[in-house]
Amino acid sequence: MGKRPPITNRVKALREAHGGMTQAELGAAVGVTRHTIIAIEQGHYSPSLETAFRIARRFGVGLEDVFGWEET
């Protein structure tokens, strides 16, 4: 518990590149709370596959353009 999952993401960068979208706006668009978006961006939470796809589709990019696997 508390161990950071080995998944990286570019959610914050993509969000800011899309007209300065807020965390609340992204959360509302994909069906999660602002605090969940915060947790995702900080690497504290790995979203479900469905939510990950929703985020990628919101940004108009592929899944692997948003999320990556952190090689240890």
């Binding site: 508390g2 504290h44 979203p47």
Partner: protein
């Protein structure tokens, strides 16, 4: 002084946790003066009823106040992360309750004191509720 940005459910967990922490302290203050070893206070029906009423009314007031201050969040169902946190915290608090009950039952087997069994079970319930709120707050902040 800057307060942390708490989500609706974090604020709810914090408030409920504090409520039950106060109730637990109030319960101990009422019962503690009487020795736990001999002459353990019999189950205080009046105290138990007051605890139940305050916990119910207090919880309703807390949720109502939070809902009025954050109506949009109050109406939104828990999302996937929140559901995981709530489920995990509930599971862990169940273990706390179970441990407390087992200790109370074990104590009864040793001392055959029914009054102590009652207090042990009631205290386990209160502590488990406080623990659940604590687990929720920790999981919300720390993630997994």
């Amino acid at each position: 002084m800057r307060f942390p940005d708490l989500s609706f459910r974090e604020a709810s967990a914090l408030a409920i946790g504090l409520l039950f922490l106060l109730l637990t302290a109030a319960y101990l203050v009422q019962v503690q003066p009487i020795s736990w070893r001999s002459g353990v206070a019999p189950p205080a029906t009046g105290l138990a009823i007051r605890l139940a009423l305050v916990s119910i009314v207090g919880s309703i007031i807390i949720q109502s106040v939070l809902a009025v201050r954050r109506p949009a969040e109050a109406e939104t169902p828990a999302d996937e992360r929140e559901r995981q946190v709530l489920a995990r915290a509930g599971n862990w608090s169940g273990l706390v309750l179970g441990a407390g009950c087992i200790m109370a039952l074990g104590n009864y087997l040793l001392h055959a004191n029914g009054n102590l069994l009652f207090h042990g079970i009631l205290l386990s319930l209160l502590v488990a509720t406080v623990a659940e709120s604590g687990f929720q707050l920790w999981l919300f902040r720390r993630g997994h």
